[in-house]
Symmetry: C2
Subunit: 465 residues, 2 copies
């Protein structure tokens, strides 16, 4: 049995690790396009900020760790084609040499590519001009070289999603004055604007100049550095002179290899897989950012996340080996640290819930993270969304200061969502309490109780009795 | 409808709050033995330590807050008897006056009393001698007066459970040299000794002198202060001269009122209630530390906790009003901060699981709280117990430094236990990740995966396929 995984990031490596773990006799090869297998892409902002000593620390496992599991690595090797019937992969190494690799089962984890938005002038500029995208280790090294060479004092970031916000912090940590431009009305558009506004204020507090509801329309070389034009929320022209531009507006699935082999595509152009991670092409599995996401509440969507890629890769590796496991689905659980604030979400927001056929209503509460009499208590803003008709919990969004255990409080909601709990039933959970770290009803429960008071009480609680 | 609650702590107040919340027309009276309704008993160690400015801050709600809900409070009033057939409560106020109070529905939340262990000389000594128990606000004031009067430089604490450990920290914070004596082989006996040893080391690090496997046999007045005798783990005599003795070895249910009215008792002498919190006596409900605990894994036991008292009281208040809700059961979730360490548990340990008919096996892992490349990563010691035959998760114990979100990570396990998840299935949960605060597989999942590797893999994972 020879399992070949294409892709050295979360999905491909997870598949290979799982296959080796379950069957140490299985032959496993991972084909990696660059020289950086199993690197933590999510850690790049912390390398740029200077918090990670050496770039090699970003590896989840070293090359030696990986080979110690018994897998083989083919680095700097691009998979250029799949002969599905012949179960043979066409490869091209960095020196241009073409070879093939036979497989019994193939797992594709080619991941995603950074989106290049329609900004005039963008395609003519690159790293040499101080214009960057940021997705791979190659992008990271290019940015690091620009930072060394240009010693920029100003930077403009296009996009205020997770990576954009982390990079605003990372570049600020290097003493660079950051301007951030977000097309949508508020930063961190994956949470409701009322919570995004808290993150916006945190950016303001740390000296980031934020333009929301604004687009970047043109970028070009200026007298000194880069000249960027845009449009503000009321259509007014905006212009900036900066030393560096970073474009981080999301990713799109990298599907060329699979599509050429005959795979079907679905939402956002991602390759369709079922919950076993089968592509429909015989003996070809796929996982990670190149495939659609089975979401427990939304059905099939596209929601690329590292945590999901790990789970999908693990399922693909097990099934390639002959297992019959399934990816039980994403809830879109995410968290980001922005300076001293933590923002997290799991499940659905109202507009997503409406689209999925629910009748969502929401409440926001601001319970303290622990008893107020113990020093250091700080409020966490928690927004609960539930279904008005069934009382089922649909989602939770949290923004709290670092040190309020906000990142792991979202996990309690994620676990409750996994099991389809009602908002009212959430109070039945036996959660931990000690005054320095919680409350007899945890902050998470105070928030769900606020929802129940606003939307159910008293009629629906006592009426059926 | 007149609902009367007896007891001003978690259970009684929760019942009263719930009744008022659900039916603002209900007449609700709470009979409180002292003048301190709705005080946070769990906060006492932090008042003694000096971290809580004024004792009145320990109130979850002020007297005015409580009356604003529409409930009436009868303070300094002892309930001395229940006329079950006449639905009438006998009361004695602090001036000795005897009265009665008619009720339609009665909720008893008399709580617990501190256990006085069989130590020679103990019964003849009290607060005037610098010998204290610690359970009520009255006990707190008495201890505070002793601390002011005696200005002790040394103290001996009998017991190293939650309160004993918190008081070791609290008295240390006041500059008192603390000796702690625990009868069992390791401190914090509610977790396995291997984890208790980590807490023991933290006590050592902070200058607490710990004697485990040791008993205090006698206490008496010495030349200056108190003379305490004991026996060490090998039967050797121990002797201490100290200024203050604090006895905190647990509590027993305060059931006199209910037993005199004809209620049945069960484990540890607690009053038997069903899951609706009915005592079996007509129109008499009971909740909190005076009643048995329905445990989701163990059935009926006695496990007094403030979180449980809140839930039980809420159920009792709702049902007294005519509701039909049930207490869905405890998992014994607990957490304690000891200096800079946090220890938590939920569910069962092996010996408890064996007694409940399971086939438990355990694994210990020490995953980092977040990615090691981001500064400040620290290991959390996590011990997972699962059933070898069914793979069901039975319990989790965690010890981690403050700042590792250990207190809320136990909640993820508690939520998984609530839903009867398997150890292997825990990896399906979509938990949050960002490098400064987690890992793609959260630390909680790395620990369950370690259990699976040790006890299931590879045979049981792939075999049924």
């Amino acid at each position: 049995m020879h399992i070949v995984a294409v892709g050295g990031s979360d999905a491909g490596i997870s598949a290979a690790l799982r296959a080796r773990e379950l069957d140490p006799s299985a032959e496993v090869t991972v084909v990696v396009a660059d020289a950086y297998p199993n690197f933590s892409i999510c850690g790049i902002p912390y390398y740029i900020s200077g918090e990670v000593g050496h770039w090699s620390n970003l590896a989840h496992r070293t090359h030696a760790d990986l080979e110690d599991t018994g897998m083989r690595l083919r680095l700097d090797t691009l998979a250029t084609g799949i002969d599905v019937d012949g179960r043979r992969l066409a490869l091209r190494s960095s020196d241009g040499a073409e070879t093939t690799l036979d497989y019994d089962e193939l797992v594709i984890g080619t991941g995603a590519l950074p989106i290049r938005p329609p900004i005039a002038g963008l395609d003519g500029l690159g790293a040499a001009d101080g214009v960057h995208v940021l997705h791979s280790m190659g992008d990271t090294f290019a940015l690091e070289r620009s930072l060394e060479r240009l010693q920029p004092s100003t930077a403009l970031i296009v996009g205020a999603g997770y990576v954009g916000l982390e990079m605003a912090e990372g570049l600020s940590a290097r003493g660079i004055a950051v301007t951030q431009v977000e097309m949508l009305p508020e930063v961190l558009p994956t949470v409701d604007p009322s919570l995004g506004a808290l993150v916006h204020a945190e950016l303001d507090r740390h000296g980031v100049t934020v333009h929301t509801g604004s687009t970047v329309t043109r970028v070009g070389r200026g007298a000194a550095g880069l000249q960027v034009d845009g449009t503000g929320p009321d259509g007014e022209p905006l212009a900036w002179d900066v030393d560096l531009v970073l474009v981080v507006v999301g990713v799109r699935p990298d599907t060329d290899l699979l599509v050429a082999a005959g795979a079907r595509t679905g939402p956002r152009g991602a390759v369709v897989v079922d919950e076993t991670m089968a592509t429909g092409l015989p003996h070809v599995w796929a996982a990670g950012d190149c495939v659609v996401t089975h979401h427990r509440q939304l059905g099939v969507t596209y929601l690329p996340l590292g945590t999901t890629a790990h789970k999908q890769g693990r399922v693909a590796g097990e099934n390639a080996l002959g297992g019959r496991t399934r990816f039980t689905g994403s809830l879109g659980t995410q968290v980001v640290k922005v300076f001293d604030l933590v923002a997290a979400r799991t499940g659905l927001r109202e507009h997503e819930a409406v689209a999925a056929g629910f009748a969502p209503v929401s409440s926001t509460a601001t319970p303290d993270d622990h008893k107020a009499y113990y020093p250091g208590a700080q409020p966490i803003t928690i927004r609960i969304t539930g279904d008005r008709d069934t009382g089922v919990l649909l989602g939770a969004q949290l923004v709290g200061p670092r040190g309020t255990e906000t990142a792991k409080r979202v996990d309690t909601y994620a676990t409750a969502l996994f099991h389809g709990m009602t908002v009212d039933g959430f109070s039945e959970l036996d959660l931990s309490y000690t005054p320095p770290l919680g409350s007899p009803w945890d902050a998470t429960q105070m928030a769900t109780q606020a929802w129940v008071r606003e939307h159910l009480l008293p009629a629906q609680v006592l009426s059926p009795r």
